[in-house]
Symmetry: C2
Subunit: 152 residues, 2 copies
Amino acid sequence: MPKIDLGAIEPVNKTGYPPPFDEPVAGRWQRRLGAINGMTHLGANHVTLKPGAWSSQRHWHEGEDEFLVMLSGEAVLIEDEGETVLHPGDCVAWPAGVRNGHHLVNRSTVDCAFICFSAGDRQEGGAYSDIDMVFTRDGYFHRDGTPYPIRK
Amino acid sequence: MPKIDLGAIEPVNKTGYPPPFDEPVAGRWQRRLGAINGMTHLGANHVTLKPGAWSSQRHWHEGEDEFLVMLSGEAVLIEDEGETVLHPGDCVAWPAGVRNGHHLVNRSTVDCAFICFSAGDRQEGGAYSDIDMVFTRDGYFHRDGTPYPIRK
């Protein structure tokens, strides 16, 4: 197993978010590094954010740990406590079940890149801090339980 | 949860390896970033290798995925197929159950650093490729099942 050739993996910018929540992540280009390399327990996702793009809607996971390593460029981490600028080499940990929504926003004029790792039970779902949306194993819902339309 | 302050975490160079297998890792200084930040599913270990130090004995895990991100300096990755030099930003994935032993050796004259992530079942154990040693949930053993002395 040699080192991973990132350039050989086609990045994709798809999302399951219903409109209009999909718009801020249109400039998020992801390379899934875990499953493609045979990993079954550990998620690893290389992400490039174009200027203006968000990593996700601000969210937290009930059953999944997440850990981010900043690789290049600069991004603003937004959490309940406020904002933190991240530079290459910076690390952030988000333990499962901590209901402190987080996301990164690229407010710079050039691309930034990071890798986000995850492990645990994604099926337990979670929620979005700033919008009327939660996620479960069955998809995206309003807080009152009404489902959002499923994205084709 | 702000970004992790690596400088506030004391690095340790301890190992459970029985002599003489502990000698090559004496210059391996680790900062455990997972549990200290409340993570219960995802292991994250920041490692600095002094010149000459090894990351571990060359090994593989039966039930645990591992993923490495090189942060600074240069190290030589050694696997069954041979050697690969790793530089900052390089990534390597080792899926659970793939019996291709791997480790990093710092053959340069300056420190190098990386983060290694893990997830899965560490209790399933694994083995070392170049020495008469395996590991289980109960410790280190010769291939014939004879236990190594437990390190105090």
